[in-house]
Symmetry: C2
Subunit: 450 residues, 2 copies
């Protein structure tokens, strides 16, 4: 396929057509463009143009476009629509996508929109979904699924399924429930097609069925589905009743968002922001971490101020503080990143003690290699072996300490139930800067005996 | 579902059963454990125990276990198996998983194993897949798919499909090809079931079908499939012939690996390593970046050495070098991370110039806020307004420069076709350390007039 490419020409063409209110040409132009691509276009329009397009096109297509838009664009379009217009869009959507949109509406609109939804069953399902936290299986699941009662026979089953399947985009599995709606098993389409129509479902279904609880975290659901290569998983409530299902495409989004969040945290960006967000949004996401760095830098300055008397005799020590700080930061980030990733993948085995010991050995090896190189360099540069040795020994010690802090911090946070990803990036860099400089000058002082 | 939890007791029990050669108990114990979980167990055994288990269990299960193992464990088990034994495992696997395993075998084994595969058609498919690069659609696709000829009628079609579906775990779509095997469309199972059996396929199929070329990068395939919420996509060769299909579960793995690679690069780890890898593997992945940091630190020291004469009068300038370096590094990493992510998601719009300008404004805003705080602090600490102003102005300038470098570098690398993710982390930190310190001392010199 030739992937869709959003060009300045296309955008210009659409803006002109909107300005001329040339509805026919607009409809024809957008007819063959996938809704995800139309969403890309709409994201680039201004709010009036965007609303014009959404009102113009069929709600079958615009509802899908709405789900794909950037949050602020969606918000400003919805603000221009009446409760009835929004309800028409929601009628076209699966319950999970509809509930996500409803959750973003201003409180006073929610009631009006819900009452305006034509399909009352659909409205009820959406309201049901609203009560779940967005980070749980309940917040991710859709109500659309195909389920059959274990007491039916194959014929009834096929009939009922046909009716249910109307509302379900993709049928992955047919779930079997008992009289109390408890999930008891699943059926494969294959089995259903190859069994006599009079046979009761009880005799045909597979009792082994994976399910997750409504309260399970989305991260855990993602882990389970990707570990066991599942394309859909049923969701059960506290009583074991089948209440929804999660499909793999939602999980793909969870994995992507999780990865982006961790990546941004590692880079010292604390909210979910994008390159195109406003300067104010971006500042809010970044300045806390920079402020942390400022505090760290001031701390480092204060420590160095305490060693001011030796600046005349050993100026070279001061020249190497950026190197020491950088090394402490880099080693710390490397160690913490590998631990954070290990925790995320559940493959950090053994005790905290063992892990810290291994990172210590690793830092010792790396630190020694680098210290030897640095020793030779400083010796040739300044010709003073004793100072060079002091700097080299400090570097090894700082590296080991940085590795230990970088390993211990995320493990400790994880044990306390705090997201360890917060420990990478600026947090580790800053604390390691301070510790590193303190260790460095202390060791230099001990060796050089000032 | 209660997720499987690998305990020390379970491992101990299995090790004892293996030592006692209690095959019956072993088989019973492992019968109900999912192959992905058995793989977790096997990863923790030694090579002899692992081989024992693999030889003991049915190849229907062990083949799946093999695909889930860590690479080194799989390698050492396969080294203990004969060509015939390996071929038996491959016979059970889908072509994509089989080809991945074959690609890891020593060259002299490949021919032997391939000749020992019983199903010759399967062997041929595996050999076909071997010629594709692992980072392309061809390297990711499987040969298993259901395809029908446009010239058949529905009845023939259903018959042929039944036979083909035997080998396909999940049927997502039925692909339609012409007499030359060119992909021309797709059929939905639904349509097929609701159409008269005598109707020719030509009249029923949907001509709109997304496909990717064998040479498309896996990253691009992942983008397409997740953007358009596809569960499977057909792969075509240079002649438009249908040669395979990629399913969403493979894409989940691609997304995860991509995210982990970027995260590690940002943390200064250059190979794909895990927390449990050997110290030597981990060192190889980390030391290049640390060495880069060392060079940077030495560069910074050399720059500071050039300003040695002012150390008596303005010692405080030297105390703030770690702060300046840290700020330059942090701002640079923030800017580059947001650009790298924007590039990955295709949502960096506008020219390089606009982007750099925006980051400059942002850095100016952040830098000014922080500089004012620092100004007040240094003024109260040392009571010298002029030095404090010099430090504050330097901080703003360094912040802006760091933001510009952080934005420009990944954009520039991307334009040149180099993975921009390499620009985050140590690379930016190091170059910003040097530039930052140079700018800092130069501005201080200009203002203080020494």
């Amino acid at each position: 396929m030739t992937p869709f490419k959003l060009t300045a020409e296309l955008l210009e063409e659409i803006a002109v057509l909107i300005a001329n209110k040339d509805n026919k040409a607009l409809k024809t132009l957008l007819l063959d463009i996938h809704f995800a691509d139309v969403a890309e276009i709409v994201n680039e329009l201004n709010s009036e143009e965007a609303t014009y397009l959404i009102k113009l096109l069929d709600s079958e297509k615009t509802s899908d476009i709405l789900t794909e838009l950037d949050e602020d664009m969606r918000e400003s379009i919805l603000a221009n629509l009446s409760a009835k217009e929004i309800a028409e869009e929601l009628d076209e959507l699966d319950t999970d996508d509809a509930a996500d949109i409803v959750a973003e509406l201003p409180t006073e609109m929610i009631g009006k929109v819900i009452s305006a939804i034509e399909d009352r069953e659909h409205a009820k399902d959406i309201v049901d979904l609203l009560r779940y936290d967005e980070d749980t299986a309940g917040g991710l699941m859709a109500k659309e699924l195909v389920k059959v009662n274990e007491n039916w026979n194959v014929l009834t089953c096929v009939k009922e399924m046909r009716a249910q399947a109307e509302n379900v985009t993709r049928v992955h599995s047919i779930y079997v429930v008992d009289a109390e709606d408890k999930l008891v098993g699943r059926l494969s389409l294959k089995d259903l097609l190859t069994t006599s129509t009079k046979q009761p479902i009880k005799d045909v279904y597979i009792t082994k069925v994976d399910a997750v609880s409504v309260n399970e975290s989305t991260e855990e659901v993602a882990k389970i589905m990707s570990k066991y290569d599942l394309e859909a998983i049923p969701v059960i409530d506290e009583l074991g009743r089948l209440v929804g299902r999660i499909t793999i495409d939602d999980i793909v989004d969870v994995i992507r968002e999780e990865a982006e969040k961790d990546y941004q945290l590692a880079a010292g960006i604390s909210n979910d922001v994008e390159a195109d967000d406003s300067i104010w949004e971006l500042t809010k996401a970044r300045i806390p971490w920079l402020f942390l760095g400022l505090i760290g830098g001031v701390g480092a300055a204060a420590i160095m101020g305490g060693f001011e008397t030796l600046i005349q005799k050993y100026a070279i020590l001061f020249f190497f503080t950026p190197l020491i700080a950088a090394m402490a930061g880099n080693v710390g980030v490397q160690s913490s990143a590998i631990v954070v990733q290990g925790i995320a993948n559940d493959d950090v085995k053994g005790s905290i003690g063992q892990r810290v010991f291994k990172e210590m050995l690793l830092a010792l090896l790396n630190g020694t290699i680098l210290a030897v190189i640095l020793l030779l360099f400083t010796w040739f540069w300044k010709g003073d072996l004793r100072t060079s040795i002091a700097i080299a020994i400090s570097l090894v010690t700082v590296t080991v300490a940085a590795g230990v802090i970088g390993t211990f911090t995320p493990l400790f946070l994880h044990k306390r139930g705090i997201d360890p990803a917060i420990a990478t990036g600026p947090f580790i860099t800053t604390s390691n800067d301070i510790f590193g400089i303190l260790i460095y000058f202390s060791i230099a002082k001990a060796i050089l005996g000032f």
